[in-house]
């Protein structure tokens, strides 16, 4: 049965023509073993893809949670009515507390390996952000905390601004700040979609003025934009500003990476057309091209990149193809909110390739690296030392 999941992937790879020779062999063998599964064909299945869009997952999740609460409550209440059980429960709590203190003490007296103690401190990031409103007040958004005002609606994991009803006379700005260990999805009032990565801040109008250029500012960090076409907004252009550059957009999807601790601002075009203006020159980009603006020299370079890799963060994975460990660790430190120290400087330039799931436990990642080239690592608090 477990093979099925692996085979399903191979069938997709076959359709996309990316099977390796050994996988071809594997698939052939499988189809010989299970002749009844031979005629599974993607073309015949594709019709059913539309079924996915008709399901309200959020509502369903709430149903699961409330169903399990109902089940949980019933037996517990009944038991607590028996008074002996109450005492037993209190006693059990005491015992557990005692055991806990004893255990910690026992740990203290022995030389602790830091990795076991700090395991719970470092966790993968999640959807969270601080919303700063026009009056200066701020709201923290995360799963389970909803927020609503006359312009915006948030369920805690994303925020959506309502389309403009009346044309506003002045532009009012909000800020969305994503901390280290966070990411967030935002939909602006013109239907432009923005995915913000960890440690990023975006300044944007609550409503756009009709027929005027739409301005947002990526104050720092990384964001992926899916800009609604200017033809839907009376030809109004869209511009993303940053200290070091300005990106003029025609209606398109692209990624900007402008971290304060990196000297280069990267803009990667996925689809459509943009012009990157660094104040000195205007550089148009084609799909799959990436511009890098050097903050000090003010020079712009352009190269072809793997778009999937550059924007993979948006899809729950990090993809690295031959990136130096120093760059990989920068990404990891933002998502897991940790500091990384290279005690052995030679490690910084070692190149790795691979795909990491963003749900992965940080130790799993480190232990794989350890097996290939890092000799030793040590975790204390929120600091990882590579030796």
């Amino acid at each position: 049965m477990k093979d099925i999941f692996h085979i399903s992937r191979l069938i997709i790879k076959k359709k996309l023509k990316v099977l390796t020779d050994s996988e071809k062999q594997e698939l052939k063998q499988f189809q010989e073993d299970y002749p009844s599964l031979k005629d599974v064909e993607i073309k015949a299945l594709a019709d059913r893809l539309s079924g996915y869009s008709s399901i309200d997952k959020e509502k369903a999740w709430r149903a699961v949670v409330s169903k399990s609460l109902e089940k949980d409550d019933r037996p517990k209440l009944r038991l607590l009515k028996n008074s002996w059980f109450k005492y037993a429960a209190v006693f059990a709590v005491c015992l557990i507390t005692l055991a806990y203190f004893y255990r910690n003490k026992a740990f203290d007296s022995v030389e602790t390996t830091p990795t076991t103690v700090d395991k719970k401190i470092i966790e993968p990031g999640a959807d969270k952000a601080t919303l700063t409103l026009e009056n200066g007040s701020s709201v923290f958004l995360e799963k389970g905390s909803a927020f609503q005002n006359q312009n915006a609606n948030s369920d805690g994991v994303q925020i959506v601004y309502e389309p403009t009803k009346e044309n506003p006379s002045i532009v009012v700005y909000n800020y969305l700040t994503v901390p280290r260990g966070g990411e967030f999805f935002l939909e602006l009032s013109d239907n432009t979609k923005v995915w913000l990565n960890s440690e990023s801040q975006l300044k944007y109008p609550v409503q756009f003025i009709e027929n005027e250029t739409r301005h947002v500012e990526l104050v720092y960090g990384e964001a992926y934009f899916d800009v609604s076409s200017s033809t839907e907004h009376g030809g109004a252009k869209f511009k993303v500003l940053n200290l070091s550059q300005e990106v003029e957009v025609i209606g398109t999807e692209f990624n900007i990476k402008a971290y304060n601790d990196e000297n280069i601002v990267y803009t990667t075009l996925v689809e459509g057309k943009v012009v990157v203006d660094n104040g000195n020159n205007r550089q148009p980009l084609l799909p799959s091209q990436q511009s890098s603006v050097d903050r000090t020299s003010k020079k712009t370079a352009v190269k072809e990149v793997d778009v999937y890799e550059e924007t993979a963060w948006r899809n729950g994975v990090f993809s690295f193809r031959g990136k130096p460990l120093k760059d990989i660790m920068k990404v990891i430190s933002r998502w897991y909110d940790v500091n990384v120290i290279f005690e052995n400087k030679n490690l910084e330039s070692i190149k790795f390739k691979g795909i990491l799931s963003k749900n992965q436990d940080i130790e799993e990642i480190l232990s794989i690296m350890k097996s290939s080239s890092i000799n030793e690592y040590e975790i204390t608090d929120k600091t990882i030392k590579l030796k």
């Binding site: 099925i4 009844s36 299945l45 089940k71 689809e271 795909i355 690296m369």
Partner: protein, 178 residues
């Protein structure tokens, strides 16, 4: 080492996000009413949560979910006193283990395709969906009201993105020295 009995809420949510729709569509193969399917799949997740065994990985939990949903569908049909030809066929298809494997295989293909297509920009999404159904470039152009040349360009970019996604090991992490 981490000790645990059963899943935490966030682990359950992770599985739910990934497999809920797929399992509903799977149940929908046997039961015509969508609401009934959703209800039954939600119960399967509640069951998984209360299950105090340790699942070593996502795949074992997934096997549990598929099997639970299958059994629940079977019980619903057995309980319904309607003994028409349709019900008889469905019962037959639920009893056949080979067929079960095939159904799961198909759902898993769809699930991964859907997940991958969702990451594409809007127009590419629409083009890929039609292309997978076997539409030719000119037919896609007509359907979506865009030029054939645009269809060609976007389609090849979209396939490139999908290939890159499936080329790697995907969710399983893999690091090699480049």
């Amino acid at each position: 080492m981490r000790e645990k009995l059963g899943l935490t809420k966030s682990e359950l949510n992770h599985l739910f996000e990934k497999y809920y729709e797929t399992l509903v569509l799977f149940a929908n193969r046997f039961l015509p009413l969508r609401d009934e399917c959703e209800d039954l799949v939600q119960d399967a997740f509640v069951g998984l949560w209360e299950h105090k065994t340790i699942f070593p990985d996502d795949i074992s939990s997934k096997v549990f979910l598929y099997k639970t949903v299958r059994n629940k569908c079977y019980n619903v049909i057995k309980h319904n006193k309607v003994k028409d030809k349709y019900a008889a066929n469905v019962v037959h298809s639920l009893e056949d283990d080979n067929l079960f494997l095939k159904q799961v295989l198909e759902e898993e293909i769809l699930r991964q395709l859907h997940e991958a297509i969702e990451t594409l920009p809007e127009r590419k999404k629409a083009i890929i969906r039609l292309s997978l159904k076997g539409f030719k470039n000119n037919e896609i152009g007509e359907e979506l009201g865009i030029k054939i040349q645009t269809v060609k360009t976007l389609k090849s970019q979209a396939y490139k993105l999908l290939r890159a996604r499936f080329k790697g090991l995907g969710i399983v992490i893999s690091i090699l020295i480049a």
